[in-house]
Subunit: 156 residues, 2 copies
DNA sequence: TTTGTATTTGGGATTATATGGTATATCATG
DNA sequence: CATGATATACCATATAATCCCAAATACAAA
């Protein structure tokens, strides 16, 4: 089962290529496409990434919406048309389009951040900063308590 | 499996020819026809496009409607009679009819916009504007939630 | 540490794609 | 039928993407 964890920072070479962590690649190879689907995040200054099969499911669920609904049109445009198919080369690298790079503020290095069923691609410095802020925020809200409670819930 | 994603902007040469993105062409080649079906959008200033097999299904489902119903006449007129078969030349280009071009406000460049099971052909500037608006609207509505809920429903 | 293996990175060679042009065929119309 | 307009087939080229091989680095086991 697909599970993206941990962080990996890889270099973007002067052809614009960057290795997708080997650990991630296994989960990304599907019957129809060997690579990733990437699009601009709606919440953060980062690139959201997922596997082809998951994007197919999203496409299907949008398809199921009523043909004339505004939601369907908006979602198709914002997600399907704004996403990129990025196939692996023979060494497991992808070519990040300029559009995505500048959106996420990425230049020479890219940090792959596991989020369980999906992952993100950040500029290392921006991510470090975000992580720092998030930790602070968790501390201040004492979220560790929430996590403990959540774990109790899971055991039920 | 057919999945039209991303955007590709190609030039229309002075013969009116434009390359259909190679990525799309693979999904468009069918047993009976190698090319696309195109018609004027009902909602936007754009050309709607799909593969031959999908258009056949639409035609079939219209055929199933009662012969004398108003719906059938309307749909037949609006979609079937107003749609074009645009075959590929040997390099994968199509010739967009003037009718469609002027309807969509396209002149020198055409942007192919993936929508999952179908795609659209826009004027680059008009599409950029529309995408920008849509993205804003989704951010404010948090529509990503809709997708998640839909997926949950599917699992039931 | 040392050795062996897997992964990332670099760069030249090759291929695919988009685009432009010329030649041929088809069509509509006077 | 002749003519011009339009469409189609074929070939040529620039650019961008991809392959392939090699080197460097990171990682793991002994």
């Amino acid at each position: 089962m697909r599970l993206f964890l941990s962080q990996y920072t890889n270099k973007i070479d002067n052809k614009g290529r960057v290795s997708v962590p080997a650990d991630y690649r296994i989960s990304l190879k599907t019957q129809f496409f060997n690579g990733i689907i990437a699009f601009r995040s709606f919440k953060f200054k980062t690139i959201e990434a997922l596997d082809y099969e998951r994007m197919q499911k999203i496409a299907d669920s949008i398809d199921d919406l009523d043909f004339f609904s505004q939601n369907k049109n908006d979602l198709s445009t914002a997600i399907l048309s704004d996403s990129y198919k990025l196939p692996f080369d023979s060494e497991g690298r992808i070519n990040l389009p300029q559009d995505l790079l500048s959106f996420a503020g990425i230049s020479r290095y890219a940090t792959f951040v596991g989020r369980g069923s999906t992952f993100q691609i950040w500029d290392p410095a921006i991510f470090k900063n975000y992580l720092h802020k998030t930790r602070k925020s968790i501390k201040s809200k004492n979220l560790s308590l929430i996590i403990k409670n959540k774990q109790k819930d899971d055991k039920k």
